[in-house]
């Protein structure tokens, strides 16, 4: 009786399938990495647009404040033919965090500033008195001054207030 040899057991996965799998695995990894790179760039691009829009909006808000609180040195210029005497000065300034106020009425060392016609002067006070050592930085000002005219019997009194940078940028000019 003829005997067949025991049938050879076949490997369940064909060799061509194994080769395809061997190729597919690194290709899959490559694809995944390329996708990740693509997704990263895409995220950065979208995020950068969003951040730019937010930053521009924030900058717009801050620019108004920035302009408003820009500190300048308080200077007065007398362009009148009269003698101007600054009797009182009030000023708002800041250190970047908080607003502070200078009030010359509270400072014994403050002397009225007399401006002859055509002269100018910085407005500041060097004093050891607390709250009175002021370098003239200002963004809001208030002052009282008098103008004496030789032809008039009485001098005129003026009270002025306003944002400092909003008027004659470099010098508060009496005209």
């Amino acid at each position: 009786m003829a005997k067949n040899p025991a049938p050879k057991k076949k490997f369940p996965v064909p060799i061509s399938t194994l080769i395809c799998l061997a190729v597919a695995a690194p290709v899959g990894w490559w694809t995944f990495n390329t996708y990740r790179k693509w997704a990263t760039f895409r995220t950065i691009e979208v995020e950068s647009d969003r951040k730019l829009a937010a930053q521009q909006k924030r900058n717009t808000e801050l620019s108004v404040v920035y302009d408003a609180v820009q500190l300048k040195k308080f200077t007065v210029c007398n362009k009148t033919p009269d003698v101007i005497t600054v009797n009182w000065v009030g000023a708002a300034f800041h250190d970047g965090k908080a607003v502070e106020v200078f009030n010359s009425d509270h400072c014994q060392d403050f002397k009225p500033i007399v401006l002859d016609p055509g002269s100018d002067s910085s407005v500041l006070l060097r004093s050891s008195q607390p709250g009175c050592n002021w370098d003239g930085s200002v963004f809001y000002y208030a002052m009282r001054y008098t103008q004496e005219n030789e032809n008039e019997e009485r001098y005129r009194i003026y009270n002025m207030v306003g944002p400092y940078q909003g008027f004659d940028r470099d010098c508060y000019t009496f005209r």
């Binding site: 057991k9 061509s16 760039f41 730019l52 900058n59 108004v64 408003a68 009182w88 800041h94 207030v161």
Partner: protein, 457 residues
Amino acid sequence: MGTLRLHRHGAPPLEVSQDRVLVGRDPSCDMVIDDKSVSRRHAYFERRGPGWAVVDQGSANGTFVNGAQVMDAELQDGQELRLGMVPLRVEMESPMQGTVLMGGPALGTVMMPAGGMPPMPPPASAPAGWGAHQPAYAAPAQPAYAPPPPQQYAPPAAPYAQPAAPAYAPSPQEEAAALLGVHPQSTPEDVKARYTEMAADLETKLANARTPHLKTTYQRNLDELQKAAEMLSPGFTTVDVADLPAAAPTVVPHEMDISLPEAVRMMGERPPDADQPKAGLPPASAVAIGFITMGMIAMTAYFGLSAGKQRKALDKKLADPAIVQAGNDAIKYKSIEALEQAGALVNGKLKLCNKGTQPFEVGWIGAVYSAKSPDTGKTVLTSFNSGFCGGNDLRVVISPGGEKAIDISGSDPRCKWDGQGLFYSVAFKDPKDPEKQLRLAGPLHNRTDCANFGEGW
């Protein structure tokens, strides 16, 4: 030798007289049935002993006998055979054309030639025995012959009458020996050796079978093999042998040297090349993975090209003046972020509180406040100066301990202020010296508390 006739409705009968006739749609077949439901090589008819059998050749639409699908079936006269959708009626003609059927007293119907043909002698004996190579379904014995008693004469049989039953049937032991391919008197060792060999082969095929049908077939073969071994060598296995298979041939592929028709053997297993793809074609799994890989390569190409473009666009965008400007502005505005967060441009209400012991009259008020520009809609800073007010527009006297929220509405358009501001300055008339003024100044942004004065004045 008898002839097989296949009657087809509306067509002349097909007559089969050769020992083996291949039927199918292909013109090369011995018998051509031109019908789409018939496979090219559908089945063949094979002479088996005195009868005929039909063996399906793996046809697409199957072969049916009396409605039941068959792979290999012996045909009987009058059966309804169907190849695909083509119905055929089976007629088996005796070699002695024109026989009449007569009832026999002991053996049932016997055949007798018509026209007084002398009866055939009965067979001398039963088959000589079951050799090692004797097929399990060896030709049935010739029907026993008996002279026809005149009183039991029967009219001529119908053309499709059942053929006479064989008079001899092999014993279960003989069948079992045939199944195993051993002699009925073989020693238990021979039976065991043969069983082990065949069972191992079947188990391998069972393990590798890819369809439920094949598994069922192999399992059935294995069970029957086990029963046969138990029959020949009791105690060999624990199988209940009460239902040993009948004389019907059992499909045991290849190893059984019992002359099983090829088609019967093939019924239990896949064609040799069924598991293998056609030459030159990779397996479906490889093709699928190949397609997936190509898809991945295409996606990689897309992502790679797109990422390159994105990177260039990103580099270009990062160098955009708008972005550079925004960055520079952000650095510049960093210094006043704290002020902005403290509400540097949020107006606060001016409320004056007299902490002194005597009443004070306001002589002048100035303020800076933020407002939306009616022209541009942007926030702008503007100032209020009560110097524009008429003599009665600003009449504010605050008694000791009193407080006053400032709200000025004079007749002059420049003399209107609701007291909301960022910075204020107030000059009070000195009660002692009308020419002298007492001045106050301070921030108002976000302020809700009092601006106190008078204490110590």
